[in-house]
Subunit: 188 residues, 2 copies
DNA sequence: TTGTTACCAAACAATTTGTTTTGTTTCTGT
DNA sequence: ACAGAAACAAAACAAATTGTTTGGTAACAA
């Protein structure tokens, strides 16, 4: 990719991230992003059709990376019953979050956290589906498969949200323990 | 309250609801609401400071009522282990939703459902806290109390979301069964 | 009936949005 | 190094939105 394109794209993402950590998405105008990124008006619109698409692209960069690396992990070792929490993909995700790649923590704890947690959940579902794909589906005769997957995803995202709202006082291992405590009985 | 005030307030809520069922909140302008409600510009702003406050008031009307009636219910009978799902406050909430009071279903299934589910969850937390208050807190030595409450709330909201996304094919009783199946083991 | 309150229409300045136009700078391939 | 292509910028643009003000009308309540 052209060095210039990359530079402006990064400048826009950076400015947008700074603004998102300070005020609500709805209150951010394209003009502000342009001013903070210090680029021409025309340039912005040649990169992103609307503010919504900018958000979408940012989220894909943020979560795409996290989920992709987790996808590469060995599957089927995320049960208490299969050993310890140390094997969990979920533990891996929490550690990744803790590294604060691309200031993702500032976004997840801002007043815009709903937006990002939502994206997080939708990407997480795909990850969980592939994890289950190898292992076979969770054998719970009374509950629909997609209901279970949705439940596990939203439980994990809620766990992350709770953790962040407590300033990540606990270790990723502890949090993984909490999460498995509420979900493992279902799929063991 | 003045008959005129009530009328315009209702007209604004009605217009807003119609718009919310068709397009995204961010894409709705105050002007559109004014036009559809067929009121004067000044009138709108004398009722609601901003679009955000309008949303807030609408949500309070929608969920305040639902939660309040649930608050009045007898507590502590929502375990499988304490009997059947028939006693559950959660079953009551689902039945209430099914009645589609104030077209709440159209809002919960629109592209704005995140917004309303979020409000739903925050109100639900209060309800669950009071439910537990009588019964004593869920006795789970390893998990923090507020983590459990958050988990139960988000699980229920996620259950509702899943139900709605399946066009409410299942009965409220079945759905309550699903929900208790994933949460009851934790608090029994 | 009289005073108060809610409403409405019209106009307003300020801001935002997305596009166009006209150049300038930077990259790329030969 | 040179020429064409691509990215960028500055300025101007119409159109729409926002929130407020002004002046006047209709409905309510005592």
């Amino acid at each position: 990719m052209d060095r210039r394109q990359k530079k402006t794209r990064e400048a826009i993402f950076k400015a947008f991230t700074v603004l998102l950590s300070k005020k609500h998405y709805n209150q951010i105008s394209v003009q502000e992003i342009i001013d903070l990124a210090d680029i021409g008006r025309t340039t912005f619109y040649s990169h992103f059709e609307t503010k919504d698409y900018l958000l979408k692209d940012l989220c894909e960069e943020l979560f795409g990376h996290i989920i992709d690396t987790a996808m590469g992990l060995p599957h089927g070792h995320y049960h208490y019953s299969c050993g310890t929490a140390a094997d969990s993909v979920f533990l891996h995700l929490l550690r990744h979050l803790q590294e604060n790649d691309r200031n993702i923590l500032e976004l997840l704890t801002s007043q815009n956290n709903e937006i990002f947690l939502r994206y997080f959940k939708s990407n997480l579902k795909k990850l969980i589906v592939t994890q289950y794909a190898d292992k076979g589906l969770p054998d719970n005769s009374t509950l629909p498969r997609d209901y279970l997957i949705s439940h596990i995803s939203s439980s994990f995202v809620d766990t992350v949200d709770w953790w962040l709202s407590h300033n990540m006082k606990e270790s990723p291992e502890e949090i993984t323990g909490y999460f498995l405590a509420v979900t493992d009985p279902l799929i063991g």
